[in-house]
C-alpha cells in the first residue's frame, strides 16, 4: 500500500515536470507566433567558435551564455493567441511550486511579471521566467520568455544598465537592501 502511494506520487511529479517543460511548446507550431528556442548544444557551439572575442561586450555575453541551459521565447501579435498564452502562463505558474514571483508591474495596460527559480545563492537563479502582456501594443502583444541555467541576475540587469534606464540604479539598491536583510 505504502509502495503504491510512493509510486503514484513519483509518477505524478515526473509527469508534472515533463508537462511543465512542454507546456509552451504548443505555441511553437502556431502561425502567428514568433518563437525562438536556443538549446545547450548551441550555447556550447557558440562558446567554441571565436565570436569576435576582442570585443569585451561580446565576451560578457559569451560568459553568460556558457552557463545557460536554454532560452525559449514566444511572441505574438494576435489577440486571441495572446489571451491563450496568458491562460497557459497563469495555469503554469499556479501548477509550478518552484517558481516564485520576483516582481509584477502593471503600467498603462502593459503587464510584466517576473518569476524565478531559486539558484545556488541570492544572486543566481536557475530559471528566469518573464511574461509580458500588452493589449495596446501592436507588435508584441504577449511575450513568454524562459531562460534556464545558471543565471546571474545582476549580469542580466547590467546588460542594459548602460542604456540609461533609471530603474537599473534602483535595482542595484534593491539588491543591496536585500543583501542587508
Amino acid at each position: 500500500m505504502m509502495k503504491k502511494i510512493i509510486a503514484i506520487t513519483v509518477i505524478a511529479l515526473v509527469s508534472q515536470t515533463l508537462f511543465s517543460q512542454s507546456v509552451f511548446d504548443k505555441f511553437e507550431e502556431k502561425q502567428d507566433v514568433t518563437s525562438m528556442i536556443v538549446t545547450k548544444s548551441m550555447f556550447k557551439l557558440m562558446s567554441k567558435i571565436d565570436l569576435s572575442s576582442n570585443d569585451p561586450k561580446a565576451k560578457e555575453y559569451l560568459n553568460m551564455v556558457e552557463n545557460l541551459e536554454n532560452i525559449k521565447i514566444f511572441t505574438t501579435d494576435n489577440p486571441t493567441t495572446a489571451s491563450e498564452m496568458k491562460k497557459t502562463v497563469d495555469s503554469y505558474l499556479k501548477s509550478s511550486t518552484s517558481l516564485s514571483e520576483l516582481m509584477r508591474v502593471n503600467d498603462d495596460g502593459k503587464n510584466v511579471k517576473f518569476y524565478v527559480k531559486e539558484g545556488k545563492d541570492e544572486n543566481f537563479v536557475n530559471e528566469l521566467f518573464m511574461f509580458l502582456y500588452d493589449e495596446l501594443s501592436n507588435d508584441k502583444m504577449a511575450v513568454i520568455m524562459s531562460i534556464t541555467g545558471n543565471i546571474d541576475l545582476r549580469q542580466i540587469s547590467k546588460l542594459t544598465a548602460d542604456l540609461n534606464v533609471p530603474g537599473s540604479e534602483q535595482l542595484k539598491n534593491i539588491e543591496k537592501n536585500k543583501n542587508k536583510n
Binding site: I73, L128, L132, S157, T160, L163, P166, L171
Partner: protein, 150 residues
C-alpha cells in the same frame, strides 16, 4: 620385351599418362640395346634423359638461411605494423577532424544564434530594468502620498 607393349608405353609417355614404374621400364628398354628398329629414333632421346639426370653442378649456391629468411619475415611484420599505424592514425585524425572542426555553416549558424541570444538577453534585461524602474515610481508615489496624509 615386345615392341608392341613398348609402343603403347611410348604413346602413353608422350601423353604424359605413364607411371614412374612404366617410365623406368622404358628407360631400361632403351638402355638394354635390344631396340626394335622402328623405335631406334627414341633411343637417343632416352639416352640423353639418362645423362641429363646424372648431371650435377659443382657449384653450391649461397643461401644463407639464417639471415635472409628472418629478415624477410620481420620486414613483413614491420610492414604490417606500419600499415596498422597508418590506419589508426588516419582514423583518429578523421574523428578529431570531424568532432573539433566546426564547419562554416555551423559557424554561421552559431553566430546567428548568438546574435539572437544577445537580442533576447537584451530584451529581458531591458524589461527587467524598466519594470524595476516602475517599482521605484510606485515607491515615489508612496512617499508623496505619505507627505500629504501625514
Amino acid at each position: 620385351m615386345d615392341s608392341k607393349k613398348i609402343e603403347q608405353l611410348l604413346d602413353a609417355y608422350f601423353e604424359g599418362t605413364t607411371s614412374i614404374a612404366e617410365e623406368k621400364l622404358l628407360q631400361e628398354y632403351f638402355k638394354s640395346g635390344e631396340v626394335a628398329p622402328h623405335l631406334e629414333v627414341y633411343q637417343d632421346m632416352f639416352a640423353f634423359f639418362a645423362t641429363a639426370k646424372s648431371e650435377k653442378t659443382s657449384m653450391t649456391p649461397e643461401i644463407s638461411e639464417t639471415n635472409n629468411q628472418p629478415f624477410y619475415k620481420s620486414l613483413r611484420k614491420w610492414v604490417a605494423v606500419a600499415a596498422l599505424l597508418v590506419v589508426a592514425l588516419g582514423v583518429t585524425f578523421f574523428i578529431n577532424n570531424n568532432s573539433n572542426k566546426i564547419s562554416t555553416a555551423e559557424q554561421r549558424e552559431a553566430e546567428l544564434a548568438f546574435e539572437k541570444t544577445k537580442e533576447a538577453l537584451n530584451f529581458i534585461s531591458y524589461q527587467f530594468n524598466s519594470s524595476a524602474q516602475n517599482l521605484t515610481v510606485v515607491k515615489e508615489f508612496g512617499k508623496s502620498t505619505n507627505k500629504i496624509f501625514k
